[in-house]
Each structure stands twice: as C-alpha cells, then as structure tokens.
C-alpha cells in the first residue's frame, strides 16, 4: 500500500512519454509558481556557492567574535535595533558572541543544501540500483530485495539517524555522516518506484520487441528502461530534497547534527529558540530561510512533476469521455 501511495505521489503510473526536453521546459514554464520557485532555488544555490565571496563583500566572516556589539550586562543582547542590523552587519549579529549573522547564514546555506544534496544523490543511486535489480531480477532476487526495502521503509529516518549519531565516533565529520545516514535510510521510496516502473516497462511491447531484436539484458536495460525511469526518479528526487533539508535541520535543531562552529540553519534555529523575545531577528532569520528553501523546493518539485507527467495536469480537467474519443 505504502508503495501504491508512493507510486501515486510521484505520478509513476503514467505511461505518458515525455516528448522531448523542450516541451518539458514549456510545461514547467507554464506554471508561474514553479518558475518563481526555480529562481529562488537557483539563488539559494548561488548564495551557498558564493558564501565566502558574499561574506567578503560584506566584510565579515562567520566566526569572529564582536564583544563590543552585544550588551554584556543584559545577557548579551545585540546592541542597536533589529538585532544589530547595520551597514557592517547586514542581518545583525548573534547574541552572546556578536558573530555576524549574514556570514553565518550564507555559510549555513552550504551545509544545509550540501548535506541534503549529497543525501538525495545517495538515495537516488541506491534506490535506482536496488529497484532495477528487483525489477529485472528473477523471483528470488525480487523477493529478497523487496523484503529489504520493506525493512528500510520501517526505519524511521529521525530515529535511526539519532541512533547512529549516538554510536559513531565524534571525530567523524558530521555533515558526511548525516548525508550518509539519511541516504542509507531514505532510498526505499525511489527503489519502490523504480521497481514498479521497471516491472511495468518490462511488460511493454517495445521491450519485448527489443528482446526479439536479439539484444542482451544490459543493453535493453540501458536503452529501453533507464530513459523511461529518468522522469519518475527525477520527480521523486526533487520531492525528496526538501525533506532531507528538514532532516538535517531537525537533527541540528535537536543538537545532535552539525557541530559548531560550522554554522547550519537548524543549529542556528536551535541556538535562537530562547532568544525570541530578546532578539527576535535571530530566530526569524533561520526559521524563514528554512521555510523559504523548503517551500521553494516543494513548489519546484510539484512543477517538475507536473511538467514530466502531463497526466497530472490533465487529471484536473474533468472530461466526459473525451479521452476515449481521442484515443486510438
């Protein structure tokens, strides 16, 4: 069932062929929200890539303490209005330490996006390999891999990540560790989709025709299956990405994720959670950033899904049998 839900979510059932990249772009562009989201995501990626540059333009770095910018006597509240926002410190400074928030935020984007991206890639790679193997393999292989997938589905990401973080030595780099754990626990969705899609494709006549042509299994997988799997895998991956951002943020929020002084948004949020009265901007900045990033990625994911699977869009039109008329 979970499978059915997943498959439905990623719009996999559609046998609709994607007819070329240009029409995909056209359909993606047709949704204004998706375009805006894509721009936002692109900006965020740019910010992450250019973090040192941006901080350099501002003239700050994410680790330097500015004792003179906080009011020591009242617990370290930033001096000045709105958390110390000024020409030197574009988003103000961190309470207690006086570290520059803008620099921390842009460097934090690297961690948040980077970890999520690595985790997503890992999920996709494992998911595609397992899914393909299950879909193409014999009964035994399929059964075995499907059971493994079932077990992985039963592993709650947060719980496993928390557990794993408990036993892995502290000197193992946390960003890598989180990406690996999330990647290792979160591939079941992709593998289920790939398996289902492979099974469906395998029964399609053009695959049978390729067999009759005399091709071997590998070539058939590469020529006939993989291109058709790209659409659902990409769609699902784009939908997974924001989830992975949230997992990293959540782990850091719980204080078991990215370790200081490396800034990450979740950790900033966690540090800020007692400061909502004394320094509201300190809390709002990471909260808003997480929200915007995840929202933009989700909207983009929707857009990609709709563009890759025109059936979703047409589903919204409630035709009266026109489908039948036009078919054949």
């Amino acid at each position: 069932m979970a499978e059915a839900l997943l498959v439905k979510e990623a719009g996999v059932a559609a046998a609709a062929p994607a007819s070329g990249a240009s029409s995909f772009r056209r359909r993606l562009r047709a949704r204004r929200s998706a375009v805006v989201a894509a721009v936002v995501v692109a900006l965020l990626v740019l910010v992450a890539l250019a973090a040192p540059l941006l901080a350099g333009i501002e003239g700050q770095d994410p680790t330097t303490y500015h004792a003179n910018l906080v009011d020591s006597a009242t617990g370290g509240v930033p001096l000045g209005s709105f958390g110390g926002i000024s020409a030197e410190h574009w988003l103000g400074v961190e309470p207690l330490t006086g570290r520059d928030l803008f620099a921390r935020v842009v460097y934090g984007a690297r961690v948040s996006l980077g970890v999520a991206l690595a985790a997503t890639l890992l999920q996709v790679i494992i998911g595609v390999v397992v899914g393909l193997a299950a879909g193409l393999g014999n009964r035994f292989v399929d059964q075995a891999l499907s059971r493994v997938t079932d077990i992985v589905v039963a592993l709650p990401v947060m719980v496993i990540a928390l557990g794993a973080l408990a036993v892995v030595p502290a000197d193992f780099p946390r960003p890598v560790l989180i990406a690996v754990i999330v990647g290792l626990v979160g591939w079941s969705g992709i593998s289920k989709i790939v398996r289902a899609r492979t099974l469906a494709l395998k029964s399609l006549d053009h695959v049978a025709a390729a067999r009759l042509s005399g091709w071997g299994g590998l070539r058939i997988a590469r020529r006939e299956l993989l291109p058709a799997l790209a659409a659902p895998v990409i769609t699902y991956a784009v939908l997974l990405f924001p989830g992975n951002i949230v997992v990293e943020a959540a782990l850091s929020f719980l204080g078991v994720g990215i370790k200081p002084p490396t800034p990450s948004w979740g950790q900033m949020l966690s540090d800020a959670d007692t400061w909502y009265q004394a320094a509201p901007t300190y809390l709002l900045i990471p909260a808003l950033l997480i929200f915007i990033t995840v929202l933009a990625l989700t909207v983009l994911g929707e857009g990609v899904r709709n563009a890759l699977d025109p059936r979703v869009a047409s589903r919204l039109r409630i035709g009266t049998g026109r489908k039948k008329e036009a078919g054949g």
Partner: protein, 329 residues
C-alpha cells in the same frame, strides 16, 4: 481476505525479526567496547565486566542475539553478582546508566506520546480531509487556489518552525496559553488538554497538508473516472458526486496514510516532544542518544520499528478492506 490478512501479518512479523537483527547487529556489533558504551562512561572495570557478562558479550553473536530475542519473547534474568534481576517479557534489556528496565522506561513514556499522537491525529485528519474536500468542492475558484497554496506551505514547514512560532505568538506575545508543560491525563484532564493544545495544533498543521493533497488529488482523480460520469449522466447532483462517490474513493489512501503516520508517531514525534517538552518516547530517544545509553537506543529503535511495521500492515489491511479490488490484484 483471511489469507491476505495472514500473509500480510506474517510478512510484518518477518520484517520485524529482520529489523531486530539489523538493529542488534548495527548497535551491538559495530562500535568499540559495547559493554563500556552500554554501561556508561563512568563505569569501573568491574561494572563493565558485569555488563559484559549480562549482555553475554563473550558468546558468539548469534547466541547474544538469541538471548536478546529470548528476552523479548520470554523474559530473561540478569545476574548482578549478589542476586538475580528478572526482566519480564517483552524484555528489551536494561539501561545501566539509569538502572532501569528499558521496557519499563518506554512504557512510562508511552502515555505522553499517545496523548500527543492521538489528539494531533484527530485534528489533522479533520483539518486535512476538510481542506481537501473544500478545495475540491470549490475547485476552479479562488478558494481552491488559496487552499492549495496553504497546503504547500504546510508541507514545506518543519514542525519545529511552526511550533516555535506558535509558542512565540500564543504563549509569549498574546499570553493566551500556558507555556506547554505536559500534565498527565489521569492527573488533570483539563490541564492535560490545555497544555497539549499547542503541540496538537503544530503537529496537525504540518501533518494535515499531505492529507489535504491526497484527499484533493484522489477526489479529483475519482471525479474524472468513468463511474462518476455515469452518475452525473443519471442526474446525481455535484454534492452527491463529491460527497458520496469521490470521497469514498479518497477514503482508502487517507486511511492508509493515517495508519502509517500514527504508527510512526507512536515511535515518538521526536521534534514535537523535544520542542514542547513532552516526556514521551521521542524525547527519551533524544536523551538516550545524547547519553549514548545503548540499550535504550536499541529498545526505542525497535519499538518504533514495531509500530511502523504494524502500521504498515494495518494500513495495507485497511486499504484492502476499503478497496476490495486490491485483494484481487
């Protein structure tokens, strides 16, 4: 149907067993000195030796695991040097750091988690299905677009962001609600509800979004199906179509997703519990992780896995009952 049921439950049992092997192996085999880790950092060599003995770390791995399993199904005894400590089935081990039985620890945390999960569940189902229904009912109008936007925003907001904002607004700025502090239902039902209101709402706000989407897309899908056209062609009103035929079609997936969600929720809504300071299973896990309390971590992961696997099976069965066609295929 019975066959399907048995097969599904059998499968769930298998997955659970396999899960226990994986978890046991991952936590008890991988890292360095297990006895030292399980016992806690301040243990003397003698105490570590005792723990090692109790966990039977000297035995081959499968024997250790067999004892672990035996504990779950039949209970086991721990020798403490001076006496015998009996751990009743289902025995998930002992926390040496807390000097308690893991099962007992989890059981005491379960009411808080259940309070959170069930209340939030009711709320988010109502909210999610209601939103989905409304956006289908008003499809093509501004209402639908607004609701769709809100749903997307809901999907995009992590619970800790929503929760923090709600605390700031309702507890701090407006001072309408108490700063959440869990009170057991048995102690004071009214206080219980008031203190859980914010956690419920936060969890419901973020969890409702997938339900709204699913309800909406399932209903739209059903509305586009031929049988709805049949009833439209027979003069059934739009309300009848949406309420009777389309909603019925959306029910299966919603029930299934609901069962899954509440299952994983019983494993602890880690974030919500941490944020709102609810002494539930999830917060226990975070604490255990921070203290590297190995037996507790393993026990909690297994219990969570148990609920998720159970929920998966229940979801499948409910889905099958809601949609008889699944059984046939």
């Amino acid at each position: 149907m019975t066959r399907f049921l048995l097969r599904r439950l059998g499968g769930a049992l298998f997955v659970l067993l396999a899960l226990s092997v994986v978890v046991y192996a991952a936590f008890y085999v991988a890292p360095g000195n297990v006895a030292q880790i399980a016992c806690g950092p301040r243990c003397s060599p003698a105490q570590v030796a005792q723990v090692s003995d109790q966990l039977r770390l000297g035995d081959p791995l499968y024997v250790q695991y067999a004892h672990f399993l035996q504990g779950i199904f039949a209970g086991r005894d721990y020798s403490t040097g001076t006496g015998i400590l009996h751990c009743q089935a289902p025995c998930l081990g002992r926390s040496y750091q807390d000097d308690q039985q893991v099962t007992q620890m989890i059981l005491t945390k379960l009411p808080a988690t259940a309070s959170l999960a069930i209340g939030a569940f009711v709320l988010w189902i109502l909210l999610g299905v209601g939103t989905g229904l409304l956006s289908v009912w008003r499809r093509g109008r501004a209402t639908e677009r607004i609701l769709t936007g809100l749903t997307l925003a809901g999907m995009a907001t992590p619970v800790f962001v929503v929760g923090l904002l709600l605390i700031i607004v309702f507890c701090s700025a407006l001072q309408l609600l108490p700063f959440p502090d869990y009170v057991p239902l048995t102690e004071n039902p009214e206080q219980w509800a008031w203190n859980l209101l914010l956690p419920w709402v936060s969890l419901a706000l973020v969890s409702a979004a997938p339900y709204a989407r699913m309800t909406r897309s399932s209903m739209l899908e059903t509305l586009a199906e031929d049988h709805v056209r049949t009833f439209r062609a027979y003069g059934v009103s739009e309300r009848g179509l949406v309420g009777r035929h389309a909603l019925r079609g959306a029910l299966g997936p919603v029930i299934a997703l609901g069962a899954l969600d509440i299952g994983s929720m019983f494993g602890g809504a880690v974030l919500t519990e941490s944020l709102f300071n609810i002494p539930g299973v999830g917060r226990e896990l975070v604490d255990a992780v921070k203290n590297v309390d190995l037996p507790v971590v393993v026990g909690l992961v297994l219990v969570t896995g148990f609920f998720v696997v159970l929920a998966n099976a229940v979801a499948d069965i409910l889905q099958a009952m809601a949609d008889r066609r699944v059984v046939l295929s």
